[in-house]
Symmetry: C2
Subunit: 207 residues, 2 copies
């Protein structure tokens, strides 16, 4: 049963989401206001507030529409290759301003907006991370990766490097950079000839 009364305008919805993305790309997330979005979209401010609780929700919706299809996990038969591909794609997405600007804005806003943090969590962690976890699990199963690999930590390090550049160091990011991260992590920091001597000799790590 559709609710009685005048249905929400799909035209207005699209105009709002599109205006939101455009404005964020132009002026940055922080500088964008609901009133600005309304004006750009040719829609009354009240119309936006009827459908979304605030700016964060609008931008979140807009980003989801545009970027959902761009991230699928491959399965080439090699964990190294799967990761290389996926991390490259993420790095590429992070360098695309039309994605990165709203995305960074949302991450920043989520630091003081629990509802938004939950939504991002759901989108990024619960669903995306499952793919990476699966890739590593297959790698371990195949004997390609260490059987005692701590998968969550490996993922933290892998994607952490990308997020670190995106949010903290603001150094340039590229697919090649992503591939180098994967390569370094695969090999490990340790010198091969020292693989028996580093720390925790009795591995019990009781400290």
């Amino acid at each position: 049963m559709s609710p009685a009364g005048r249905p929400k305008s799909e035209t207005a919805r699209r105009a709002v989401l599109s205006a939101a993305l455009d404005l964020v790309a132009e002026k940055g997330y922080q500088a964008v206001t609901i009133e600005g979005i309304a004006e750009r979209a040719g829609v009354a401010k009240t119309t936006i507030y009827r459908s979304w609780p605030g700016k964060a929700a609008v931008v979140m919706d807009a980003v989801l529409v545009e970027s959902d299809p761009r991230l699928a996990f491959p399965d080439t038969g090699s964990a190294a290759e799967d990761l290389r591909l996926q991390v490259s794609r993420v790095a590429e997405l992070f360098t695309d301003p039309s994605f990165a600007k709203p995305f960074v804005g949302l991450l920043a806003a989520s630091q003081h907006d629990e509802a938004l943090a939950g939504a991002l969590q759901e989108w990024l962690i619960t669903s995306r991370r499952a793919g990476a976890s699966e890739v590593l699990r297959r790698g371990v199963e195949r004997g390609e990766l260490r059987p005692d690999l701590d998968i969550p930590i490996a993922i933290d390090a892998l994607y952490g490097a990308l997020y670190y550049r995106l949010l903290v160091s603001h150094e340039p990011l590229s697919p090649e950079y992503g591939q180098r991260v994967v390569a370094e992590l695969f090999t490990g920091l340790q010198s091969p000839r020292n693989s028996f001597s580093t720390g925790a000799s009795t591995s019990a790590g009781t400290t």
Copy 2:
């Protein structure tokens, strides 16, 4: 020669910085206002604007005062041990709300405030990162770490994992977690018996 006229009140300065930290700890960075800081510090709003350009600068100053001494790089003779110690300390700092709340707020604000981003960059990257870089360099020199190690990338992965938890996944963070990250990175993802077969044609002289 001190500039003519009444000197700035050191009492007022301390009251402002202290009030800022207290308020951020209580209500979160975003919810804190200059007017609120002024009221709590028992100081006029104009007095704050005379010394700082805005909220970010005040909180930045306050955080610097409180946390500067807590981060020095050790030199135990073992890169593994040095990193374990340092990463543990950072992880501990990230779990201390009186540091983490203002710090996260500043990082969030720096995403749309170039001046703040520059100041954070200077503090975090230029000075802190130099220490980690030095530790790794010594490790390579000693033969403890791979001679072809990409040091900047190793640092990205190491600290990236911590920042990832702090800012993105919001999973709990602890010194033990930091130590596990260091351990996993040292060993690498790769299974020892496969160390010859994983792509990375680039000079992975593993003998």
